[in-house]
Structures are given as structure tokens and as C-alpha cells.
Symmetry: C2
Subunit: 245 residues, 2 copies
Amino acid sequence: MSEAKFLSGYDPDAYDRPALAVDLVLLGLHDGRPSVLLLQRAEHPHAGRWALPGGFVALDETLDAAAERVLRDKAGLAGIQCEQLYTFGALDRDPRMRIVSVAYLALLPERAFGEALDGMPKLSRAVIDVPWTGEAGGPVAVLPADGRMRGEPLALAFDHAEILALAILRLRGKLDYSDVGFALLPEHFTLRQLQDVHEAILGTPLNKPAFRRRMLDRGWLAPTGSREAGTSFRPAELYRFQKPS
Amino acid sequence: MSEAKFLSGYDPDAYDRPALAVDLVLLGLHDGRPSVLLLQRAEHPHAGRWALPGGFVALDETLDAAAERVLRDKAGLAGIQCEQLYTFGALDRDPRMRIVSVAYLALLPERAFGEALDGMPKLSRAVIDVPWTGEAGGPVAVLPADGRMRGEPLALAFDHAEILALAILRLRGKLDYSDVGFALLPEHFTLRQLQDVHEAILGTPLNKPAFRRRMLDRGWLAPTGSREAGTSFRPAELYRFQKPS
DNA sequence: TCAAAAGTGTTGGTGATACACCCATGT
DNA sequence: ACATGGGTGTATCACCAACACTTTTGA
């Protein structure tokens, strides 16, 4: 039997299969703390709780394309780098049915974060409270950081707290040896801003001169020649991220 | 409407969904080179080509459980640590239908590798030829290393070459700062064996005294007191892996 | 002139590299 | 005795943390 003939007789629906979704962790910074875009579920299940933006994967789209679609439809953003994080497949993670979800991570600079909040009234920003240091891992808490939220730590839907914790872990791990830190900054930035980003993600203060030199020696920073404006003290040099050649 | 009532009216089959599978990269060492367990496809599609062991994810099993089941049914192995690698979702990766596959990585010590080969007549061992160094990434080639295979580099089915390349990349990345290196060794081993494992995975020679001290200073090695036997030269101390406390 | 933050020079510690060397064992 | 690979001591170097210090700006 030829391969073509075999395929024409193949029944793709012979077995039941889990549903497949993507969930997006959209991370940014707020007042020097890591924060995330969430939306409050209007419908069951978990109505009223806060969830990561997500959606089902269509038959004719790749996982990356599904992530981009969710980014566009639920956050109004395009052209943001999305990276696959992990795939979550616990049996009871969704009470409706068996849903396996591929989690994606995207880093939003302040400007994109603001655009998303302005364009999508249902989205809110929450600050992530990471109670562990280094790469210890463990649960994270999520605090209101937005007029649309009130009071207490937020209850997250499904296993989204777990996804969020893994996102922080991954981010911390990649910060030293990759260029992820720059994704949270505007095109021009000062070394102090870059250090603030690193400190926010790592959750620890860093030594200024050491950080400075480490970054400059790496060769990823190109001085723009212009300087910060509007300070009441010596203005800092503005740098641009220059891809490691 | 209550959540319970909502759920009772929910139709899980409202949308078509991709099929979901797991594929296992079972890595070991052969003559000091990284090698992998493959099986030759008897059926369409890609009949005759070599593939990673895999299987569909059932509705009532987690992804990890599916990986363990495949490990048991297709390689005859149990109690091997499996780690999720990446999820592959290209549209045309399988000609039968849309299949999204969660790739898992497991490291087999020589003994488990042999058990699998002896117990499962269809399995073969192939040597992986990695034409790049460091974490550059890129395609890998797969060479016969077994009486069941002949001659030329093997043609892999589906996107399994891509999965294999990512497995090598991940392994190299984790080798320095994690305990993955020990998973490829028997319980008792010499420092030279450990160094051979590292050199095989990294694809570069390492400095002996430096490697020695780095490993011993890390505090993960416990001397067993006994020594290698059957050498025609000074027998080396045997060590055990001691979990970092 | 002062406060505040940018930016630099110097020093000490840690760990990797490289080399030379000694040690134990079977033949 | 000697070949072979295991194991150790030591000098050197690169890198990084910490501190003290100078510089530049607006008020």
C-alpha cells in the first residue's frame, strides 16, 4: 500500500483527544516591580477570578500563531516576541474538560503595557510578589496594581499561579546570559534603568559599578550620544541595545 | 447560573482540535559519543524511516504519564527520570493529520540502554553526530551504531531531527549547573568516566585537573572507598553521586 | 555651593587554566 | 624497570564584588 493510499483511508477521529490551548504570560514592570496583564473571568468556570489571556489552538494554526492571535485579540498588541515556556497537562486543570495548555511568555516594555491597558478595557495590571530569591522556585502572589482591582491578593483561575511562577523562574534564569532584560525597556535607556530592570526581576539589589562594567564589557550596549533630560542632577548617557554580533 | 449548571450544559466537542502526542528522546552514550534509541517505522506515514518512540496522549492521562507509558511500552523501561523538552506544533509535521507533540528527554545509563535494546527487538541505537560546538545550535546527523542498521546516515521521520537537535542543545546548556551528567553513569563511577560524559555531550576536550577540582569542590561527589578493578595501571577511586543538600 | 546621582580607579577574593610532577599498579 | 593513567601542587590569569572616590548637573 502506498503512503498516499494509506493516508486517504486514515481516520483522524478514531480516538478522543484533549483540547489544546495557549496561555500568555505578559510581563512588564510597574514601579520597579514585575507585573502581569490579567483579565477577570466573566463566565464560568472560575467566574470572577483572574486569568492569563488565552485561547484554543485552531486546527490550521501553529502554536506560535495561536499565541500571536491571542496577543492581538486579547491584548491588542502585535510585533511582540513570544517564547514558549512550558506545556501544562494536569488532568483537572480545567473543570469543563481535559485541556492541555501551552504557556507562552512575552515581555512588554512600558509603552506596550500601556497600549494594551488603554486599548482593552477588560485587561488589568497586577503586581507579582515573589516570596523566594534566586532560583529556589515556589508559589507567587499577585497583588492589585490598577484601579480596576481592589484590595486583597487576587485569586487566580485554573493553574495560572503555577504558570506565573514558572515564568518568573525562567526569566531569572535567562537574565544573566541572554538579552531578555532589554525587552522590558524602551529603545533608549540609561544604565540605571537597565539595573532597575535586573533588580526587579531578580528581587535583589545589585552593585552599581560591577553591573555597569559587566554590561559595558559584554558589548551589547551602544551609546547614543544623547543624554537623559529633565533630571535635577547629572543626566545619564542614553544607550541602545546592539545585537551581539 | 451556577458553575455546576454551566458545566453540565457545556459541549466539549464544539470545536475541532489537534491530536496530541508525546515523543521521547532517549539519550545515552556509545563509545564515548551521544546516542539515541530509535525505531524503524513499519507503517505509513514515513515507513522505513527512523523515529523517536512516541504515542498519543489519552484523555485520562497527564503528559508526564503518557511519557512514562511510552517509556514502558516502547522501551521496556521504568523508573527513568523524564523531563519535558518542548512542544512542537508545526502544521505539516505529520501528513496524517494535525498532531501537536510534546517532546520529552530522558537520560539512560549504559545499563538501561542495554536493557531496552535487549528487551525490545525493534529498538536500535544510533550515534548522534553534532556538527556544531557550544550552544550554536543547528541540525544534527544520526549514524548507525547497531547491527540492525546499515551504512549511510539515517533518515529520520517527521520533525524528529529537529527534536533531537533541541535535546542536545538543552543537555549542553544544563550540563554545567545541574546534575544531568550523573544520569548517564552507573551508580559508582570514576572521575575519568564523568569527564568522558561531559566531553561527549559538549563535544570538546576538557582539562583534567580543572575538571577534577571543579567537580570535587561542588560537593556532589562522595568517595565510596573502593576502587576500579581490572586495570593494568593505577585503579581510580570510585565515587557516588550525592544530592546537593 | 550643595545635593544627588553619574561614572571611574583600585584592591582583594574566587575560580578556571595550564603545566609539572608524583603515585600506584600490571606486565 | 617501565608504561600507563590516576591524582596533586603551584603559578598565572581573568573576572567580579566592594569601596572610595571624582565628576557633572540643576537648584
